[in-house]
């Protein structure tokens, strides 16, 4: 009797294990994402998640081991060969928006293996630009980000560019 019950529980558990990642993925995987971390300089980036899934197919390409698919990186496989999907697959749950704040530096476990995790902005750019170069995706800053008025002021560009005359004058005086 107990044996049957144990088998039943075990079977149900297995079923749940198999079913849950797919189910939760379907529920939570967004088709588009609005990336607004740099909104003080650039307009929001409308990230077409669905299109990237279609193109790349392998979740691990961007999400490492967290999405439950096996990563190809031999270095990661050493530990994450059998790790399942993590509770959150959002980039920002591991890649902090403020990676160098005093709080983040204090939290850092210096003995842990992952003690050099990039911040969110760094992780996006490193990951995106590398793949875009390979696949022929947009590569220039403003191909993905439309610079806002504040951004123009920050870079002294666009309407805020230094007057051409002044530059020429400077060159002439040299």
């Amino acid at each position: 009797m107990y044996a049957v019950r144990n088998w039943l529980i075990g079977g149900l558990f297995m079923l749940a294990l198999i079913a849950s990642p797919a189910g939760s993925r379907a529920k939570t995987t967004p088709d588009t994402l609005e990336l607004d971390a740099l909104v003080n300089l650039y307009d929001k980036v409308h990230f077409n998640h669905a299109k990237h899934i279609m193109l790349v197919k392998d979740c691990a390409e961007c999400h490492h081991h967290t999405a439950g698919t096996l990563t190809q990186n031999p270095n990661c496989v050493k530990c994450h060969k059998n790790s399942g999907a993590t509770a959150s697959v959002a980039c920002r749950s591991c890649h902090f928006i403020q990676p160098f704040s005093a709080a983040a530096l204090r939290q850092k476990d210096k003995t842990a293996y992952h003690n050099d995790i990039m911040g969110l902005k760094g992780a996006y750019h490193q990951s995106c630009t590398k793949c875009h170069a390979k696949m022929g995706g947009p590569a220039g800053c403003q191909d993905c980000h439309t610079r806002s008025k504040q951004g123009d002021a920050f870079y002294s560009a666009g309407a805020y560019a230094p007057k051409q005359g002044r530059v020429e004058e400077k060159h002439r005086s040299h």
């Binding site: 003690n115 760094g122 750019h125 490193q126 230094p162």
Partner: protein, 305 residues
């Protein structure tokens, strides 16, 4: 006790005392930065030359408007160095090894034992416990000794100011950020996370780990770990450092070591020498005065009996 033994003892004690003093006074030579000092690890393999750090520095330090927009790539045609109008600049280098160019950000490296501080006779410079090398422009007299002393050719000078020209350089955003535990503006704005901010000791570990993990990507050297006694800003590169404008002939000794022995003698010269040589003079001329007196010359000088 024999006279000879007594003299030997005196010699030994004197030597011991001198050594003891000198070790205490010159113990600074082994200073390796404050234990809680912060730093920045610059990973040149990540830089794409977007010049955002230059723009952020300009705004944070409220520097005058630039000559060209910060997204203008034509500035890479010449090799620039920091000036009064730009405390940090990015230069581009074409190298043999890499097909794509290598970019290198230049700013003050915030030495553990800064040569600028050593050379400044009005004591305008301070090395803070957070690791920044800051300066008090109210005290600066504009002598430019620090510009000559700096092994990295960093301090700029406000040549544009006719009345009160002073030295201008990167201060690690000390006043507005570092003091409050925040990373400098350039670190925060960098899209590629070329710049990693943290405790210098941790950054050295991170740097070594990166080299170990990707030995093909990096040259096995952290520039600034030992150069001129160590700097708060550290560099990793994928090509030899001399190919991207670094001086690789720099000694590991801090610049102060070149002058410290000499400077240690100065107080001795000023205090002991006058007394010593006056004594010698008096000793040497004691009998001479007597003979002078006898000869009848300068009789009014020494009326001693």
């Amino acid at each position: 006790m024999k006279r000879r033994d007594f003299l030997k003892g005196c010699m030994a004690c004197g030597a011991a005392a001198t050594l003891g003093v000198s070790q205490k006074a010159w113990g600074m030579s082994s200073f390796e930065g404050y234990p809680e000092g912060m730093g920045v690890l610059v990973d040149l393999t990540r830089c794409v030359g977007c010049r955002s750090c230059e723009a952020a520095c300009n705004k944070e330090q409220q520097l005058p408007a630039p000559d060209a927009p910060f997204d203008d790539k034509s500035v890479f045609e010449e090799k620039r160095r920091p000036t009064e109008k730009a405390y940090t600049v990015v230069n581009r280098y074409e190298t043999e090894k890499k097909e794509s160019p290598v970019y290198r950000k230049i700013q003050c490296n915030h030495c553990n034992e800064p040569a600028c501080l050593t050379s400044c006779f009005v004591n305008a410079y301070t090395k803070t416990k957070e690791g920044a090398v800051i300066y008090n422009s109210k005290v600066c007299v504009g002598c430019r000794n620090c510009m000559i002393a700096c092994p990295f050719n960093v301090p700029g000078y406000s040549y544009s100011s006719a009345l009160n020209p002073v030295v201008k350089k990167c201060i690690f955003c000390y006043d507005t950020r570092l003091k409050y535990g925040k990373p400098p503006a350039c670190v925060e704005v960098c899209p590629q996370e070329v710049l990693t901010f943290g405790h210098r000791n941790d950054l050295l570990k991170i740097g070594r780990d990166r080299i170990k993990e990707k030995p093909d990507r990096y040259v096995d050297h952290i520039y600034g770990e030992k150069e001129v006694g160590g700097t708060s800003w550290l560099y990793l590169a994928g090509v030899n450092f001399d190919q991207v404008g670094f001086d690789t002939t720099m000694a590991n000794e801090p610049i102060i070591s070149n002058v410290k022995d000499f400077l240690g003698i100065v107080p001795m010269v000023l205090t002991i020498w006058p007394a010593l040589f006056t004594g010698f003079h008096l000793l040497a001329t004691r009998n001479k005065n007597h003979t002078d007196h006898e000869d009848g010359h300068s009789a009014q000088e020494d009326p001693k009996p």
